[in-house]
């Protein structure tokens, strides 16, 4: 398992966040705080807006109302720097099928400007339970569970201060679920973690919880 020293603490504070897609209201008014060292579980039935809330917190979707602040130790983090502090694994994100697992991680390490040495990348893949023989196979030949593991490795590769996991155990077997649990545990120190889930086992990880309703 990878034990990371995360970037300096970052808090994500959100107040009365609402989101509409045309006439359809997805989030009404959600408030909360994502603090370093805590796991915030976002629970609720399908369509309640769990992924939407995580996308808003990530800054990849603009809220229709309310405010979201990304606060570092010295004040608000500017948008251009925010993504350096953020790690995300979500169902609407994919890795490159043409590249191998190692090449994918090397690419994301390079564009993020972090250590891309083979030893480091192999350690990251091992930490998510990917077999060594699969490191050099193209992702296009992987099962969805194996792809999910590589996606999780990518999300924590740069030791983010904020980790957003949307349905992190989707497509994973029981061993994979244990990997995610270990990943959340090991990254919790100093990292603000949010998990959007319906899985009661994942809900149990939470230090705080937001229950969204339809």
């Amino acid at each position: 398992m990878l034990f990371f020293t995360a970037m300096p603490g970052v808090t994500v504070s959100f107040r009365t966040v609402g989101k509409r897609f045309g006439p359809r209201r997805v989030l009404t008014s959600v408030s909360g705080e994502l603090r370093p060292g805590q796991v915030l579980v976002v629970a609720g039935p399908n369509g309640a807006g769990k992924s939407t809330l995580l996308n808003i917190l990530a800054g990849t979707l603009r809220q229709s109302r309310g405010s979201v602040e990304h606060l570092g130790e010295t004040g608000p983090i500017e948008r251009a720097r925010w993504f350096h502090h953020l790690g995300v694994a979500a169902p609407d994100m994919a890795m490159y099928d043409e590249l191998t697992a190692l090449e994918n991680l090397r690419f994301f390490a390079r564009v993020r400007g972090v250590d891309s040495s083979p030893a480091r990348l192999e350690q990251a893949l091992e930490s998510v339970g990917l077999a060594r023989r699969d490191f050099t196979k193209p992702l296009g030949t992987f099962s969805s569970g194996m792809k999910q593991r590589v996606k999780l490795a990518q999300a924590v590769l740069h030791r983010p201060a904020v980790l957003l996991l949307d349905e992190p155990s989707s497509n994973l077997d029981a061993a994979g679920h244990d990997v995610v649990a270990g990943l959340v545990r090991s990254n919790k120190a100093g990292t603000a973690v949010a998990v959007a889930t319906n899985d009661p086992r994942e809900v149990a990880w939470g230090d705080a919880q937001i229950d969204l309703i339809l």
């Binding site: 990530a58 990849t60 948008r79 251009a80 993504f83 953020l86 995300v88 979500a90 609407d92 994100m93 994919a94 890795m95 490159y96 099928d97 043409e98 590249l99 090449e103 690419f107 994301f108 390079r110 564009v111 993020r112 193209p138 996606k151 990518q154």
Partner: protein, 219 residues
């Protein structure tokens, strides 16, 4: 350079864009050569028509492959992963350089074939090569930023044509003028006005893209 290396590796393994532009270009060229050929154009019209036909073939072949750099990221759902990881400047530079290489490869493949099939003589090989290089840079710059703008829209292929035509049209006019001049004269002086115009358009497009791409990419 990481984005460029990723694009090249993925393309060499999948060859989707290469096959698209190569096959489109070859099919168009063969159709033109078969129907028109070197002898069905009056001598007086040859410099104008052959220069225009060359750039029409090159542009439409390129248009079938260049927008893929961003459209494929959206289709494969890798765009969000890339958006969260890479600086916008690194993404645009990598994608732009990939399109330049793709266009250069297309030109290297199609132009000699076109000259052979259409009996198109170029007096100024040096200035013509320079014009092809500047044309590749300018067309790649325009195509890359337009591809970024349309990539998240439905019907992106149609939108690409609609948005890129007004930007590419003046560029094509200067490229055709320069090609006509290079075919008639060996000197650089005759091609220089067109070269200046193409370089200026490429420069303006690149500078504008550097400012608008971060907004296009993240919004």
């Amino acid at each position: 350079m990481a984005v460029l290396a990723k694009e090249l590796t993925a393309e060499l393994r999948g060859r989707v864009a290469l096959n698209a532009v190569g096959l489109f270009g070859l099919t168009t060229l063969i159709a033109v050569a078969y129907q028109i050929g070197p002898y069905r154009i009056a001598d007086a019209d040859r410099p104008h028509l052959l220069a225009a036909l060359l750039w029409i073939i090159l542009y439409f072949a390129a248009a079938s492959g260049l927008p893929r750099v961003f459209v494929k990221e959206e289709d494969a759902r890798t765009a969000k992963t890339l958006r969260l990881a890479a600086r916008p400047g690194a993404v645009f530079t990598g994608k732009f350089l990939f399109n330049v290489i793709l266009l250069a490869a297309l030109e290297a493949f199609l132009v000699p074939l076109y000259c052979a099939l259409m009996s198109y003589g170029i007096a100024g090989i040096g200035p013509f090569t320079l014009l092809l290089a500047c044309g590749a840079v300018a067309l790649a710059a325009t195509s890359t930023i337009v591809a970024a703008i349309i990539s998240r829209a439905t019907g992106s292929g149609t939108l690409f044509a609609i948005l890129s035509v007004p930007l590419v049209l003046p560029l094509l006019v200067f490229l055709i003028q320069g090609t006509r001049a290079a075919s008639a004269s060996a000197g650089l002086a005759e091609v220089l006005p067109a070269l200046r115009a193409v370089t200026s358009l490429a420069g303006v497009t690149l500078v504008t893209s550097a400012f608008i791409f971060p907004v296009v990419w993240h919004e």
